[in-house]
């Protein structure tokens, strides 16, 4: 088994367990590569990759760009804010125009769920979904599971709680798919209003008491409250949210074990996580960022190999 079962990475939903293991094993080798004194390999020197971002991004965009450059691919960047999208150009037209310039792969972030799937049906390039609305963010989920694997040796059997705004989070959904595929036990925790109604049908538990959730888990993945996606008020105040679902040193010290703290970023310090926790030994937030480059190199490498 040295090949992915898919031609695009649109979501974890479309992958199987073998795919994830293959991506992890490949990422192991790339992690080795990016820790050498010369971090570049010439593998993709005849490929061109377009990063198309219709939504803001810091980590993901930088991480993808670094991954592409370390594989020696040519990179073109495109942000919707400074483009003809503002003049009314459609998504397919925009992408097809970019593809006419001989681009082999497209990394896309878009505010609409399913944008990647839609695009993959209409254009010939390989598509990597870098986040589509509140739907999926597959590379984030892969790097999260990879970081857990790195910390504990394996993901299977571990108890993972995802805390925060589950309703608006693509990270939560992709993480649930990935963790379940790898055999972890998953719970979500947050205000009732921010937990989707049928989330249990994905095989995850629901917990509204943060303390109990933390006592159960080995890993807590803290999510940001996505104010920009909220059209109505889902909880009385940020202060109240922090009191009930924010994580701080005191809560962690009350636990009888040491758990691992993760955060996909961007962090709202003092809201879902306090600075002393985010910067503590227990937090693997910066390891996640480092692993993100290796995971993305692996995904790009494996998908590029399927382009004929």
């Amino acid at each position: 088994m040295s090949e992915l079962s898919v031609k695009h990475l649109l979501g974890i939903k479309y992958l199987n367990k073998k795919d994830i293991h293959l991506i992890f094993e490949t990422a192991d080798h790339y992690k080795d590569v990016i820790n050498r004194s010369i971090t570049k390999v010439p593998t993709l020197r005849d490929s061109t990759i377009a990063n198309i971002f219709f939504e803001y991004s810091t980590r993901t965009k930088l991480s993808f760009e670094l991954a592409e450059k370390r594989l020696s691919a040519d990179v073109v960047n495109f942000s919707a804010g400074q483009s003809s999208v503002k003049k009314g150009e459609t998504l397919i037209d925009t992408v097809n125009n970019i593809l006419s310039m001989k681009v082999d792969m497209v990394v896309m972030r878009h505010p609409n769920p399913g944008a990647g799937v839609f695009l993959s049906k209409h254009v010939s390039a390989a598509i990597i979904n870098a986040g589509d609305g509140a739907h999926e963010h597959p590379t984030q989920a892969l790097l999260d599971s990879y970081s857990i694997r790195e910390k504990y040796g394996e993901v299977g059997g571990k108890n993972v709680v995802i805390v925060g705004d589950i309703l608006h989070s693509r990270v939560a959904l992709s993480n649930i798919f990935a963790l379940k595929l790898l055999g972890a036990n998953v719970k979500v925790c947050g205000p009732k209003t921010l937990i989707p109604k049928y989330i249990e049908s994905l095989g995850v538990g629901v917990e509204t008491n943060l303390k109990q959730a933390l006592e159960w888990c080995d890993v807590a993945n803290m999510l940001r409250v996505q104010n920009e996606r909220m059209d109505v008020s889902y909880f009385p105040s940020t202060r109240e949210y922090t009191q009930q679902f924010g994580i701080n040193k005191d809560i962690l010290q009350e636990l009888d074990k040491e758990i691992v703290i993760m955060h996909p970023g961007p962090i709202n310090r003092g809201v879902e996580i306090t600075s002393d926790v985010a910067d503590s030994e227990q937090s693997i937030i910066l390891d996640q960022v480092e692993n993100g480059v290796a995971i993305r190199m692996a995904v790009i490498y494996l998908l590029a190999a399927k382009i004929k």
Partner: protein, 211 residues
């Protein structure tokens, strides 16, 4: 030790004027799709000792030399040579690493399936060292070309040499030749040289497999 010609699938065919020509033996022709032993374990053992001595002759105490086994198949040969040098010739502190060239190949996307990478383990710098690449079979030379690119990620070696157990003649795509060779073999492109090691396949043997 050379084998009798008959065992190599050849026999002497008498012609006029008492000149003999070499022709494939009838059995060899019938045994199409077969494999023929090129080297048995005894011959391999002799060759390994000779190669170890040749390395020793050039590199003496190996203080400025690093051995690099090329993944995936060169590592067995490298381990063997290391063992002989350490145990029989009492050389201490030989640096050996494993180099995977998957990401440095020039045929990405041209083959059927992506190649799966192997571990690279080089926990020293090769800056100003004499590097000896070790691989089992030298064929087109493209792997060595990739290895030359890959090794640069670990510094600038003083010089790079190549040691191979089997050197397939007339099949090179690039101007690359070994500095130390076990046995030179003339094989046509349809044939394959299969090197097996006791620790991996149960016995030391080199086959020439024809399709």
């Amino acid at each position: 030790m050379e084998k009798p010609l008959q065992m190599q699938g050849l026999f002497l065919f008498p012609t006029f004027f008492k000149i003999y020509v070499l022709l494939p033996s009838p059995e060899a022709v019938v045994k199409h799709m077969s494999q023929r032993v090129l080297l048995n374990s005894k011959e391999i053992n002799i060759i390994l000792h000779r190669l170890a001595c040749q390395l020793l002759e050039t590199h003496l105490d190996f203080s400025e030399t690093v051995l690099i086994g090329l993944q995936p198949r060169g590592i067995f040969l490298a381990e063997r040579l290391l063992k002989i040098l350490k145990e029989e010739y009492k050389v201490k502190n030989i640096a050996m690493g494993l180099l995977d060239i998957t990401f440095y190949r020039d045929d990405f996307g041209r083959g059927e399936k992506p190649l799966q990478a192997n571990t690279t383990k080089i926990d020293f710098l090769v800056e100003d060292k004499s590097v000896v690449f070790i691989d089992d079979v030298l064929y087109t030379g493209r792997s060595i070309r990739a290895a030359l690119t890959a090794i640069q990620s670990f510094g600038r070696p003083k010089n790079v040499e190549l040691l191979t157990l089997i050197d397939r003649r007339f099949s090179r795509h690039l101007p690359i030749q070994p500095n130390y060779r076990g046995r030179q073999v003339d094989a046509i492109n349809e044939e394959r040289v299969k090197v097996m090691w006791a620790e991996n396949e149960g016995e030391d043997v080199v086959y020439l497999v024809s399709k």
